[in-house]
Amino acid sequence: MPTYEEEHGLNSTNNNTEGERPNRLTVQQALNNFINTPTDSRNNLSNSINNSINGINNVDFNLLNQMMNSMNTILVDKSNTNNGVSNEFIDRLERVNVKQLKNDDTCPICTNEYKDDSYPLVVELPCNSKHRFDLECIVPWLKINKTCPLCRIDVTIKKELPVLVDSEEEDEDWEMYG
């Protein structure tokens, strides 16, 4: 007569208990392994943990403050970088010829006269040819903002297309003469 287990296609209880044993063994083995690991490596681990805890106790508050401040500035920088213009945009800004500058023209950001510098690097923004700034002054601003300090217009909106068209026309010219 078939047993209950055979009728239901189950393994016998014997097999089950045998199946459990290896499991218990593996747990035991893992424990043994941990206990038997060389004490050196375990000491290393606890030492390094202790060191880091002591390190925290020894840090003086000035240093901690400095770290917090620098972290804050990094965070501010990071959150702002997304809002600024690309480096290519800055490179493509229109330079203003020194001859076009009057003697008393000043940079609105630093309020210094351009001609104070014997070789002034002045750029104009695409929004208006009168919106001129020292390159040195406008770059840090444009890296965190896309707007013109004078009129708040997004400086990245215009310009892009005409520049592309120009380069295409140039290409065509070359082909015609080639």
């Binding site: 950001i109 630093c110 210094n112 002054c137 965190i144 707007t147």
Partner: protein
């Protein structure tokens, strides 16, 4: 010398030049001491506003990123007894100024709306403009904002003048 220091020195020279007149509402605008250009005091008498009888003191704190970041400007409300000036009114009821801390809620002094071409003088003038153009929909002083909303001029003026020395 950092860019911020250069710019602040230039502003300092401009404001201390007797030939260059500041707005009549600005009585003084100077650094607290000559060694530190990042800490200024302004005294205002906002003659063209409903606060015209009062003299108010503002603290202006600047960071090394000025003028790329705005100055932090507050009305001084908690001057220590020793430094108190009898001429100055330390309580200013205004719906966009925190009555206890003197904090000012003004959009152009927030980093997103600031522009580096503005100077300390412009910033102070903007605050004086705010005195007569209260914005009760974003209040720091809710009780006073209610009076402004009700447009109860008698109550508004009485409260302002109650505190003025």
């Amino acid at each position: 010398m950092s860019n911020a220091q250069k710019r602040l020195l230039k502003e300092f020279k401009k404001y201390s030049n007797p030939n260059n007149k500041l707005s009549e509402s600005i009585i003084s605008l100077t650094p607290i001491n000559d060694n530190n250009l990042f800490d200024w005091i302004a005294i205002i008498n906002p003659i063209e506003t409903i606060y015209k009888k009062g003299f108010y003191k503002l603290s202006i704190k600047l960071s090394n990123t000025y003028p790329l970041t705005p100055p932090i400007i507050k009305f001084i409300t908690n001057e220590s007894q020793i430094d108190r000036d009898e001429q100055i009114t330390y309580q200013i009821p205004h719906c966009n100024i925190d009555f206890k801390t003197g904090e000012i809620c003004l959009d152009i002094l927030k980093i997103d709306n600031w522009s580096p071409i503005w100077t300390l003088e412009y910033s102070i003038l903007a605050i004086i403009y705010l005195l007569n153009n209260q914005e009760p929909n974003s209040p720091l002083n809710i009780d006073f904002a209610n009076l402004i909303k009700l447009n109860d001029k008698l109550a508004i003026n009485s409260i302002i003048n109650y505190y003025i020395k």
